[in-house]
Amino acid sequence: MPAKVRVQTTINGEQVEFLCEPRQSLLECLRDILGLTGTKEGCNDGNCGACTVMLDDRVVTSCLVLGVEAEGAQITTIEGIAKGSELHPLQRSFLENAALQCGICTPGFIVAAKALLDHEPNPTEDQIRLWLANNLCRCTGYDKIIHAVQQAAAYSREVRA
């Protein structure tokens, strides 16, 4: 069995230290070592987006990142999107728009959509579809997800106004 490596990183604003095998993905480390199971595994080869997290300022599929690459990084997972008990506007709008059915893809969509809104607070429908094109949803046909992101953008505009 390969020797374990110590990794020091920051997850959802908290400093975290863990031991992992060099072959373990960041997704595995989050889920199996750190108990952050909100990040989901759908394919383990970067094609479904259920494991989407922020690594510094990049949107990544955590199954394609090694745990050791988290060293010194700032990671945001679905567990870090709400401010304490206050839901993020995207989380509220997903609920209000019924933008989830089974919910397995929802964490990945919310992380990816937050990255979009942080980058572009007033996205067009095409921009939303492009930014979410790496996240597969098999239940909704995306319609209500797109509407939820549009509404969250509107919420955020209200807050700023």
């Binding site: 990040t39 893809c105 209500k144």
Partner: protein, 749 residues
Amino acid sequence: MSTQQYTVVGTRPIRHDGVDKVTGRAQYGADFQMAGLLYGYVLRSPHAHARIKRIDTTKAEKFPGVKAVVIAADFPPTPERLVDLGEGDTPLSYARGNVLAGSKALYRGHAVAVVAATSVHIAEEAAGLIEVDYEVLPAVLTAPEAMQEGAAILHDDLKTKEFGEQTGRVSNVAEHFRHTMGDVAAGFAEADVVIEREFNTSTVHQGYIEPHNATALWNSDGRILVWCSTQGAFVVRDVTACLLDIPVSHVKVTPMEIGGGFGGKIPVYIEPVAALLSKKTGKPVKIVMSRKDVFEGTGPTPGSHIQVKIGARKDGRITAAQAYLAYEAGAYPGAMVGPGAMCVFAAYDIPNVVIDGFDVVVNKPSTAAYRAPGATNAAFATETVLDEIAEKLGIDPLDLRLKNAAREGTRRADGPKYRRIGCVEVIEAMKNHPHYSTPLVGPNRGRGVAIGFWFNIGLPSSCTISVNADGTVNLVEGSTDIGGTRTSIAMQAAEVLGIPAEDVCPTVVDTDSIGFTAVTGGSRTTFATGWAAYEAAQDVVRQLKERAAKLWQTDTASVNFERGVFRSSDKSMTFRELAVQIDQTGGPVVGRGAVNPRGAGGSFSGNIVDVEVDPETGKVTILRFTAVQDVGKAIHPSYVEGQMQGGSAQGIGWALNEEYYMSRDGAMMNSSLLDYRMPTALDLPMIDTVIVEVPNPGHPFGVRGVGEANIVPPPAAIANAIYRAAGVRMRRLPMNPPAIMEAIWSQRD
């Protein structure tokens, strides 16, 4: 149409499990953890058809970290009998054989052995050390191929059943059945136009994002505990008990949150194996499939070979219809050709019909249900033939359908007569929709329509409701919540109790804690478990009337209850005011509902779709899509729309891209989500929905169920649109760019 006024039914409350699912707190099967957990890895056959001559697990068992290995021989030798796998009876040997291959591997991906180790990586490495001697056999991959004289035979003991009788003939055709009505020869003779076409559709997968997973603990007291992702916890319980030859009461299944199923999470694959490994090791064992395992080792929906012939008079009246449906069951009998045959002409009133169905085994994964199983393949054929007839006769395609639409009293060729149905209302809603009358401009563009039918089912459901002293209630039920049904069920209880949906706290519980409840499937959950909740709520009302009578020192019969208020002469009390006093009036109030409803109401759906076909590349872009469906009564319209949009999206994927791309020797060449191309957000437009409500007389609120009929029309509607855009009639699925280019080129030749 629905006119009844409700206070909760038809509103759009936030779903009860919503916050957990947007914050990542909801516990899905793969999230389950417990102390001492071992991890399983499944070794699968690399051959589509092979005799397994020897399995040697010695080296794997000695690998550091490995705790146990199981193969088929580890199952107890139970005598053959029929078992219910959630959607009908199957011989036990087939159910067991699909979980772990015995003397033969019948498809590439067929499970052969399973290793339990301290980590999944160790289990995977060790599985590579298992030696399996295969004698590779010729594989048959399509129904026409498997039906040929001299084709390689999958099961030496499979004898064709023909028209209900055993023939004694060993073949790959498990069953051939026929439905007849009237006289087709006379019907076709009467027709002014007769069109006959042949169709082929590829195997496609349900494509749920969450892979199958299960954790099992075979406890020292002889009881097995299972935590898994399933559409039916009671099916997992029953099949596990059956394969391991122990009483059902010794298995407790806790359904975790489920990440999609669409029918594919009804069969049981890994739970009994995890239990066997747990028995060998004394520890809990967890197995999680990879995406490749999901594609190669779980049941997709059948590929099919279909011929449809329809005749009509000049005025558009259909005089006769004939269908030949050969569906690929995969490795074990049970292709969904039965429902396909019942649905193929189900939307129409046709006097003369013959339908032949063939259930054919092939060397591909054993198929499972997929959203209106069998109906989409069949509708692709019927609805495109009808489009040709409409064109030939110069009749508007919706008018042609309206003229022949099934109505209350129409008899289907397989026997039943319809009760009140909404086929006509769906077609009229399509005709009246602005999408249908808006001109479609631009080159290479076309509009198509199609309709579809699915039965929906009843089956048993149980529910209990206990009253809390603060005027809320706890609702306990056994239906996996796959898309918001906790809420659609809770809303029906709330409607009866006259309280807000938010005052009902619904929980889906394990198989020890609720009465038997059949699978979440067949669009039955809001219909049947909703009905159980309705009954449980009525029971609560009955008991609370007694309490009110006690408080008011009057007759129970004199107490009325309406819209959340109990009344007797001049006295009145709200549900909440009475709930506060339940302790003083006799203690807890618990209502129960246990139903096995017969009144499932079929659902019709229709699509209007605009496409653009790129004549250079064959790529089809969906420009506009409208889905219309009769749902009986929409309990929570947002989630009803969601079902319609989701079914449409899956139908679009099936139409345009999705397929099991097989090598000649039976290997799936595209077993990843990169190469098995499901629609992304970029591939689809907004999906417009029209909810039609023709109440189902067989349900207290008129619910029909909405989960399935919506996937039936999209491939046909898109094919019809492609014809108008590019001038080619597509008769195979998927209609991907190569298929379209081939059609365009062959037309030019």
